[in-house]
């Protein structure tokens, strides 16, 4: 086969697959969302947005993302720079730090449930220290702050690794000469970090943030495992529409709303961290 046709033959399976299972479902979901049986309508959106739980779940999702993503970014940057100058044990430390990458959000929720549940390890520790006399039921409606904290901690614990991996790979691409030159001119470690690492890391930061923010709007199983119905988020409402209320039109409308928010934030991040043309390493 000649070299003109071959590449098209090779990409044909992926293209066909993605058209059938990625682009086509989007058409379907849009059709479902904008119709209730007879023609174009916004009823599904009106119904979904008008439901009393919608503002709460939107607020919860955004608050959670706002609390979790900056902490993860800082933590991942710190871990990546620490690992970068490590001489011994680098592989072991990196392995340990990337373990959560393979752990599902459901498993992460269950892991933090072991800590926060009523007979869990946090209560065991607190009572061992004499802070509480009886185990406190942290994950109940009386402690909304603790429920939020537990979910946020589980999310930070689970999904920092994905940013770490991207940032470590990105830092590895920065030429060592830049740091050596900066050191010769007496730049402090902090200055080297802000003047060399951060600007040159921009493409990786972009990817890491986009991936992470999209995952943050998809937060679902962690929330269900720890908060149940106490902490409604967009994704769990979508699931409830599909399963408990059997209203796939409303579920589709929710899906489009989540999609729109994700795309909006992706565009903001891409714009805020855009890499000037020709400025890549």
């Amino acid at each position: 086969m000649n070299a003109r046709v071959l590449p098209y033959v090779l990409i044909l399976p992926v293209t066909a697959f993605l058209c059938l299972f990625f682009l086509y479902p989007f058409v379907l979901v849009a059709k479902q969302a904008f119709s209730t049986g007879d023609g174009f309508t916004l009823d599904n959106f009106r119904q979904v947005v008008g439901y009393w739980k919608f503002p709460i779940s939107l607020q919860n999702t955004l608050l959670l993302a706002a609390a979790v993503v900056p902490v993860q970014l800082a933590l991942a940057l710190l871990m990546a720079t620490m690992v970068n100058k490590m001489q011994r044990g680098r592989d072991l430390v990196l392995y340990v730090w990337t373990i959560p990458l393979g752990i599902s959000d459901l498993a992460a929720g269950i892991i933090w449930l072991a800590i926060f549940e009523q007979s869990g390890f946090l209560n065991s520790m607190l009572s061992g220290l004499g802070v509480v006399d009886r185990p406190v039921n942290f994950l109940s409606y009386q402690h909304p702050g603790v429920v939020f904290l537990a979910i946020a901690l589980a999310e930070i614990w689970r999904a920092t690794a994905i940013m770490l991996v991207i940032l470590v790979a990105g830092i590895g691409l920065i030429p060592k000469e830049y740091y050596e030159a900066a050191e010769v001119f007496g730049a402090s470690p902090w200055k080297r970090f802000t003047r060399i690492t951060l600007p040159l890391l921009r493409p990786s930061l972009q990817t890491a943030l986009v991936l992470r923010v999209i995952l943050a709007f998809e937060v679902f199983a962690v929330v269900l495992a720890l908060g149940g119905t106490l902490f409604p988020v967009l994704m769990s409402e979508t699931y409830a529409y599909q399963f408990d209320l059997l209203d796939s039109g409303a579920a589709a409308a929710m899906a489009l709303i989540i999609l729109a928010i994700s795309i909006g934030f992706t565009l903001i991040i891409l714009r805020a961290l855009r890499v000037p043309k020709g400025a890549t390493i």
């Binding site: 086969m1 071959l6 590449p7 090779l10 990409i11 399976p13 992926v14 697959f17 993605l18 299972f21 990625f22 989007f26 379907l28 979901v29 710190l78 620490m82 430390v93 392995y95 340990v96 990337t98 373990i99 959560p100 393979g102 752990i103 599902s104 959000d105 459901l106 498993a107 269950i110 892991i111 449930l113 072991a114 800590i115 549940e117 009523q118 007979s119 065991s124 061992g128 614990w157 991996v165 991207i166 790979a169 990105g170 590895g172 691409l173 007496g186 986009v210 991936l211 998809e218 679902f220 269900l224 149940g228 979508t238 699931y239 599909q242 796939s248 589709a252 989540i258 999609l259 795309i263």
Partner: protein, 279 residues
Amino acid sequence: MTPVTTDVAAPDTRRAGRYVYIAAVVLLCAWVLVPLYFLLINTLSSPETVNSFPKPFLPEFDLGSLGFFAGFAGILTALKNSILVAGLTMIMSILIGAPAGYALSRFDFRGKEAFRLLILLTRAFPLPLLALPLAVMFIQTGLDDTVFGLSLVHTTLAIPFAVLITFSLFSGIPLELEEAAWTLGCTRLTAFTKVVLPLILPGITASAIFAFVISWNEVFAAAVLTIENRTLTAFLLQNLDTSPLHLKFAGGFILVVPALIFIFAVRKYLFAMWGIANR
């Protein structure tokens, strides 16, 4: 000269900094490992201990919880379904994705940029949501509630990674190697199977394992698309309100174990895969 003076004046601060640094590394390792250890304690304790208070901080090595997990109705089928779906996802995403990765690394063709954009686009979308419209489509085609139907959705999740990872792997093999094989009488196909494939096989395995983990861990699409043939994640999610604590913890443990092994197996490729896949 400032650097010199700080060098002379600061052995103490430098040593202190070193201790802070080591302490921070140890602390961050503990942050990852201690919650896993707590899960391990709960899994290796009897159901009575798991539901009692206060908790021991050492496992008692009782297999009661795991035994209860294995005996719970439907859970072994769910485990089997999970493995089947993940296995199918692994095979499909590599078989479909790797040729495209090869094409991207070896050829310049019209529409290459549009194709790359399509691949990158898939990563900027919350893909599990696709399970909602697909549920309808699957009912029409008889794929609903089947292992194969779910693995098609999981393949959509895994394929962008498969393409980008194999693209970076193939790019790491010099074209000259293939050209040398051609001059020695190989066709394009035999040059590929005899020269490129052996070199690339460990990397392909790593990205296959990655696809397996993506499917193994996926919750939302699995819960939406299966009813009778639940995967382990969907089963656990469905029974979160009703199942006893020891079942949840044993289930969580079973979910985590393959992840630990797989991350260990692919650790060498993790950074290479992500580093280049992002460009």
